[in-house]
Amino acid sequence: MPSPGETVPFLDPLPGRSGLTSWIFSTDHKRIGMLYLWCILTMFAVGVAIGVLMRLELIAPGRTIMGAQAYNAMFTLHGVVMVFLFVIPGIPAAFGNILLPLQIGAEDVSFPRLNIFSWWLYLTGAVLAVTSLFTGGGPPDTGWTFYVPFSERTTTNVSLAVVAVFILGFSSILTGLNFITTIHRLRAPQMSWGKLPLFVWSLYATAWIQLLATPVLGVTVALVFIERLLGIGLFDPAKGGDPLLYQHLFWIYSHPAVYIMIVPAMGVVSEIIPAFDRKSIFGYKAIAVSSLAIAFAGSLVWAHHMFTSGMSDTAVLVFSFLTFVVAIPSAIKVFNWVATLYKGSIYLEPPLLFALGFIFLFSVGGLTGLVLGSAGTDIHVHDTYFVVAHFHYVIFGGTGFGLFAAMHFWFPKIFGRMYDRKLANASWYLLIGGFNMLYFPMFLIGLMGMPRRYYDYLPMYQTGHMISTAGSWVLVAGLVTMFWGLSKCLRGPRTVGRNPWGAATLEWTLPSPPPHLTFLDPPDEVPSPYSYAGVKRDA
């Protein structure tokens, strides 16, 4: 006789345990993943709203809806919210939590209580970050990078903001620690490393970056806090310090952090492409190993953010060269995905559309990254809108579309219902169109010399800015359509079967939604994750 936990879907309350507390104190990885999902989507909405306001300010030269100080606070906030509260926890903490144990046939993560503690840390960090806007000397105006010496001197509420970042970093570290331990210790007996789904491989590589790079950020922002409090002067030239060392420390974390953002999205794409292609993934080992290679090589290149900072020419040369090296594993993935598509029987469902959007936009972002990684050209476009465009192509076009793809791919698994396919398709066209309209002109005005982080600009850039702002409206229309298409399907009877896509990884062997308790005993049979022979659809 199975217990209620083995039959009741995890979204529904267990007998005698219901209400908010059954969520916020839950140690179930699926519920924790959902908590993260709701939080990051809320933060995404905040970040988008700020971004739209910034675009509105930039529709015409001069002051349109806000002045310089307000704009400074806006781009700081946009960066902090998007980077630390949305993108970094995005795929790993939300979808990683829900799916990692399911995909390896484990009952839960290794440390379930630590897992909910991480979420509480995330929530605390988020609350503090938002509080820093309304308390102290006004919202921080340093940009999300908190560069010294300005961050040490500005009277705005940087101290509280860096405390928030410290706590968020701790949350990220503990999630990474949990995932690495889980993957090492709790795989089903037959789940060898060679049978791990590629999403798990990507989470594994990401978790190592979270674990080893984030502490450096922690100590760096702690130093900013200490400097603001005590004025020791470790980064202050007047007191013998070197402000460039702050940049080194900051980017030692924040460059690898870009891979915390993008690698899980690559894992999502690696799951979706073979499933909608009815063909085994091409180059399984190459994709798995390239995740690890990105994680390692990604920690060797941080100073390419500092070519114009005044560091030595030797360092410029070395870091420029290494930056080209890190392009290799990313390209390996792209080629393998394309090779997987070749001669497959393609079902152009929304998850695949978003995955293809990822490949296209990420490729644009990645290739323009080479322009920036090459020191000679970087000098010309550094701190221009070219950088803004490049970054958004990689992170929004990459991670954002990866997240959207994951949301559609696993929506039926999580909710037991199918999203509205027409709206999903329509939203994809709006998103792709709006996205390119919003960000592509930035490449052009960046090349023309438009500097980033100004609320005002010369009239020569106006056309580009106007197209870009109009693009932001199309993009928002796409987002509204997409979330409408998903949320209208949150109610109603659960009709989806176990495996609507006919995918081969373990989570599709479970009911949709999965019950509270899953894989109490590890599965007897562990299939090869991308072999579709004999896998039956169960819509």
Partner: protein
């Protein structure tokens, strides 16, 4: 519990003694002036001490090799972080002046 590996008191005492001797050595050497070599010697002795602590006090010698490899990886990464920063600071024009 199957993974129980009890380290005898005698071995721990020997390690402690070795750590004490190494502390004495490093303090003793520091009273001579070898210039930059002092830093090198001090760091070598410290590394030897750290190795003893990690291998015996922390039982790493008796853990599986994967963990050992990870410990090495961590120190390699840290060495890269510190070493690569010197590509900048060691070649700064004003640093050499």
């Amino acid at each position: 519990m199957t993974h129980k590996h009890i380290i005898p008191f005698g071995l721990l005492a020997k390690i402690w003694l070795a750590l004490m001797v190494l502390t004495g050595v490093t303090v003793g050497v520091a009273s001579f002036d070898f210039g930059f070599l002092n830093v090198l010697v001090a760091m070598s002795v410290a590394s030897a001490k750290a190795l003893l602590v990690v291998l015996f006090f922390m039982h790493l010698k008796y853990e599986n090799r994967v963990l050992g490899a990870f410990v090495i990886l961590v120190f390699v990464i840290l060495a890269i972080f510190i070493g690569f920063t010197f590509f900048d600071v060691a070649w700064r024009p004003e640093a050499g002046a």
